[in-house]
Amino acid sequence: MESIRGRLTLWYATALILSIAIFAVVLYVARRSDTYQDLDRRIQSEADLTAGILAESYRARGTLVENDTAGRPQLTPDVAAVLEVVPDYLLVTARDGRLLFASPDARALTFGEFEQLNAITRPPPVAQSHTPGRFHVSPNGPTLHYIVRAVPDAGDQFGAILAGADTKSAELRLEQLLLTILIAFFVGVVPAILVGGWLAARALEPVDRMITEVREITDGRSLHRRLAVPMARDELGRLAETLNQMMTRLERSFAALRRFTADASHELKTPLTVVRAGVERAITRPGVPQETLAPLEETLHEVNRMTELLDSLLTLARADEGRADLHREPVDLRAIIEEAGETGELLAEHAGVGIDIRLPPQPLVVPVDRSRMRQLALNLIENAVKYTPRGGQVSVELAGDNGRAVFTVADTGIGIAPGDLPHVFDRFWRADSARTRTSERAGTGLGLAICKWIAEAHGGTIEVQSRPGRGTTFTVGLPRSETPSS
């Protein structure tokens, strides 16, 4: 689950469903055992009643068994009439196991089913015993709970009484109970979960609002703003307060950075100007011997490198603040790439690398900061040449597709390891495997970070694809109409 709201709802729903399920199971099990006990009590009392009636009649009349017209023994009709009203299944057998009486329910069974039932009464029980049991009359008959008992107080005419009751009515009651539980479950649980989700959302809604606000504030331009602190001193109120304190500190440190940027520009650049001024004066004075000129030239070069590094650092510091420092005007990108391309040719010639530059036939006018764009193009081309071994090839291409200008620099150079790819735009990052040729000086390590900033400040993108040993491709996409820079 992505949100706290979702997780809260999920936990709440799980807890609710579990507790209701436990309640339902306990209820069902208790009701089930109650229901079967009732059933058993009923057949017990039926059996006892029958035994009582038989004993009563025996005391009044003696013999209760007579032969019917077919010569089979049967219960005397008036006693049978009394037993006829006992519900459920009732069988009365003689000592020798022959059937004397069967209740209407029992008579309704098929012959096979009836025989299965009758078999339970054999052998006849002894004395006072009660044998309860459960029996399924196969294949399609009812399932019965039964009890078999002896009839000790009626002479020795009777073998056993079997009283049984169909479990169907009990099962029906349990099914109804189950159905009721299920209905109550859905009627109760679904709205409860919905309400739970709504409550979680309501409780967390101020957090969502806070997220939006913080995002707006920290984009770099509105750091002076603060979150509205709710009146209540609850967790959210304290969170808002803490965030506000953090933003105050952030604002202070950004202000310090801004001050530092301005101070550093001045404090570092003024001495650089002084050094440069001295060196430049000395180096351009006529008649200076060569052994003096060489170290002066080296110094001048280093001063320039330092200036470049300082400029890059300040540019990135300003970029961090969210202030895109661009002077945009409509420029035909072909002119910029062509100029950078000539430099690329010179660099490639020196490095023994082939280079081809493809420009579109039509002007490709895009609102860009001219000098930044030149820096971007030069950086990418220079990098491509630098990391391509002698005999390799660098391809520079500019193309316009709908709404975008796409500038690609591809090389057949040493490439970048997949693990290093996400870091190539990091500041001061340099892969060990991607060292420059030993004879050459490494750059400042800020070039690609600057390129990324330039592309993104123009509302564009920069992407890199690379395969170690096969080459690297940098692709810069720029919107052709001005979009708000981020």
Partner: protein, 224 residues
């Protein structure tokens, strides 16, 4: 032509003063804004141009500029700034500056901008540069040796022009790079050497005398 330089850093100020002095300007140097403002807008002020550092003690360069314009002084002002952010430059230009140079600057750049602001005819750089039979026309950007046209790419032209403009003087690789490329472009390779090799092929090959000479460890010089 009189130029007032307002710069609190003595070394930078002296450097600018001496450089402009050598280029034939009359230069006064002052160290703070109040003094500079008094001199530029007081009675009998006779300056043709002001070079103004934006970061001054007490009264800032921007305030000097604003006060100057408020008093109706239309003197051309070239601003020196360490801030190369666009909004800062825009602010200076809005306040009435005519141009700016970012620190640290190559003196050549400062001079070029002073010349442009002063609208002084470029007597120092004649439209056509000549060394022996090699002729470079800065107007049409055409180059020929002994009457034969030589085709040059833009960078080749820029390097050759720079060397011919300073003929007889050794120009260091860094200065050449700076002139022909972006101010801070440092390709880490001696790209100038590549251009010189090409130029030699086009200009000096099978010709006498050789005009482009190497000064080991430093740079190049064009002379006969």
């Amino acid at each position: 032509m009189k130029i007032l330089v307002i710069e609190d850093d003595r070394t930078v100020g002296e450097y600018v003063r001496r450089g402009l002095d050598e280029a034939g300007y009359h230069v006064d140097l002052v160290g703070d804004g109040d003094e500079g403002l008094r001199r530029a807008s007081g009675k009998g002020a006779s300056y043709d141009m002001m070079v103004l550092d934006l970061r001054l003690p007490r009264m800032s360069g921007i305030d000097v500029l604003r006060t100057l314009r408020d008093r109706g002084v239309g003197l051309p002002v070239l601003v020196l700034t360490a801030q190369d952010s666009v909004d800062f430059k825009v602010q200076a230009l809005r306040m009435g500056a005519d141009d700016y140079v970012t620190k640290p600057f190559a003196f050549e750049e400062l001079l070029a901008r002073v010349e442009a602001l002063g609208r002084r005819p470029k007597s120092i750089s004649p439209p056509t540069l000549k060394v022996n039979g090699l002729v470079l026309d800065t107007g049409s950007r055409e180059v020929s040796r002994d009457g034969k046209r030589i085709e040059l790419t833009p960078k080749e032209y820029a390097v050759l022009e720079y060397l011919m403009r300073h003929q007889g003087r050794v120009m260091s690789r860094t200065l050449i790079t700076e002139y022909a490329w972006d101010y801070h472009f440092d390709p880490g390779t001696n790209i100038v050497d590549v251009v010189i090799t090409r130029l030699r092929k086009k200009i000096d090959q099978a010709k006498e005398p050789k005009l482009i000479h190497t000064v080991r460890g430093v740079g190049y010089v064009v002379r006969t």
